[in-house]
């Protein structure tokens, strides 16, 4: 409780200062609005449901894209991590595609999928694929060979050794990639909406901006920060539970 209270001092001070600057006219209301107006706009947006609908659209795009990317990247990464030759064959392709900015794919995705969710999902999936892939390859390759030997001595087949030994052993590393990708997913989903796709929170911000509703624009931004923080907190909790063994090992 104390730590939360201490952590709240700074943001509350900023809000008070912001309100004062707005009231006295130092900060222009056209751009900065005022915390009291922003909170009112946030309440209106939540009450009439527009903010929630937009949140659903943005987070659904981010979640589906993240899910597709993770499924593909873990499967492909496990294979590439286990078989060195395959990794050598694909390394150039991976290194060439990875630096492509995902935002640069928006025009391509627009032509292929048109407006709507599929387009957002495809760009998010492209962006999220790489961190999960790279970390899966690295963590599968880093598995202790002794564990795989234990699996062989017990008589497990190759596919069972992958399922029961390789993937769980690589899970902490894969989870790191997944959390990086989860952050990227929200950034990219909103970016696609701001740049092209007429849906979700990003589009809501563009509309607010174009209709000179600075209060709604700020309200959406704060809402986005709050939701992102909650999502990250939830993921961390999940990770702590799934990887209890990993933290036990780290602390030993």
């Amino acid at each position: 409780m104390r730590r939360i209270a201490i952590g709240l001092i700074f943001p509350l001070a900023v809000i008070v200062l912001w309100e004062l600057l707005g009231q006295t006219g130092v900060a222009s209301e056209d751009g900065f609005s005022r915390p009291s107006l922003v909170i009112a706009a946030l309440a209106r947006g939540l009450a009439d449901g527009t903010l929630l609908t937009q949140t659903g659209e943005t987070f659904l795009s981010a979640a589906i894209g993240l899910f597709i990317a993770t499924a593909l990247a873990v499967a492909i990464g496990a294979v590439l991590g286990l078989f060195r030759t395959l990794e050598r064959v694909t390394v150039l392709t991976v290194e060439a595609l990875r630096p492509v900015p995902s935002v640069a794919l928006i025009p391509v995705a627009l032509l292929i999928f048109g407006f709507g969710q599929n387009m957002s999902v495809s760009v998010v999936a492209f962006a999220c694929f790489w961190p999960v892939l790279i970390l899966t390859i690295a963590s599968v390759r880093g598995i202790d060979p002794r564990l795989i030997e234990v699996g062989r001595m017990m008589g497990f087949s190759l596919s069972m050794r992958i399922r029961k030994f390789a993937l769980p052993a690589a899970l902490p590393g894969i989870m790191v990639g997944f959390r990086i990708a989860a952050g990227i997913a929200i950034v990219v989903a909103v970016t696609v909406e701001i740049a092209a796709n007429p849906q979700g929170l990003g589009y809501g911000m563009i509309i607010a901006q174009q209709s000179l509703h600075a209060d709604l624009m700020w309200a959406t931004l704060m809402w986005l920060g709050l939701i992102g923080w909650i999502a990250n907190w939830g993921l961390l909790r999940l990770e702590r539970r799934w990887l209890r063994w990993f933290w036990a090992q780290r602390e030993a």
Partner: protein, 261 residues
């Protein structure tokens, strides 16, 4: 633990040789090793570090193919790992699955054997009790001491219901007191269940204390220099057995092979 007369050996090395590298520059690790591990016998292999003890065990387990000669299990050549041959590694910390609890590590062996999940708890309980792990069943390996972790690995190998146990310096990483406790537990277990064991160690007293037979290896290349049949009564005792004149005599003989490296 008297061997069954006339029974074929459970495990045998027949002229096992192993070399790494191409012929002119090849390094010979094992040179023409032959011996047998009869049913119900506890055979120890002792030798200085670098004599290829661990490599020999890996050949017998089917993890490494011999360059010449062969490892036989019940008269048939070992070409790949098989569940009838279990191996207990020295580095228990690396051999246990850190994401599975104690009981999860043990039931792994049941999963490998295709035993239905409903029977796992019932079959695992006696093993947990035998290895004094019952109250730790739901802990992760990292939450246990070294001795307990090694007991988990032994329990997991027993769950495999193998015909022969290969042990690679299983107590080498444990402190002296824990090691003695583990030696006595292992000896008691093997006596009561008539286990067939091949036990590798660099500690010659441990080899004499545990074994019905001790095979002494020399290094560079790894070769058999002596095989001693241990004539000491069981159950053995940490003080009385170790102070027995014959124990000291065996120790003296083995020391001459191993003492001068």
């Amino acid at each position: 633990m008297t061997p069954v007369a006339g029974a074929p050996p459970v495990l045998a090395a027949r002229g096992v040789s192993l070399a790494f590298g191409a012929p002119p520059a090849a390094r010979t690790i094992l040179a023409d090793l032959s011996f047998e591990v009869p049913e119900r016998e506890f055979v120890c292999v002792v030798g200085p570090s670098g004599c290829g003890k661990t490599t020999l065990l890996r050949v017998l387990a089917g993890l490494v193919p011999a360059t010449a000669g062969e490892a036989d299990f019940q008269g048939r050549r070992v070409t790949a790992p098989q569940p009838d041959i279990a191996i207990i590694f020295q580095d228990y910390g690396r051999a246990l699955l850190p994401w599975r609890t104690v009981s999860g590590n043990i039931t792994l062996a049941f999963e490998a054997r295709g035993i239905p999940k409903s029977e796992h708890a019932q079959r695992g309980a006696p093993l947990l009790a035998k290895m004094r792990l019952t109250e730790h069943a739901h802990k992760f390996p990292a939450e246990l001491s070294g001795g307990m972790q090694q007991r988990v690995q032994i329990a997991r190998c027993l769950a495999q219901e193998p015909r022969v146990l290969l042990m690679d310096e299983p107590f080498g990483a444990l402190d002296a007191i824990t090691r003695q406790t583990m030696q006595d537990e292992l000896a008691r277990l093997c006596e009561s269940e008539h286990r067939t064991v091949l036990f590798v160690t660099h500690d010659l007293e441990e080899a004499i204390y545990l074994g019905d037979r001790v095979i002494a290896l020399a290094a560079n290349p790894g070769r058999i220099v002596e095989i001693i049949d241990v004539d000491l009564s069981r159950p053995r005792h940490q003080l009385e057995t170790r102070e027995h004149p014959r124990f000291l005599q065996y120790r003296h003989r083995l020391f001459q092979h191993l003492g001068h490296e």
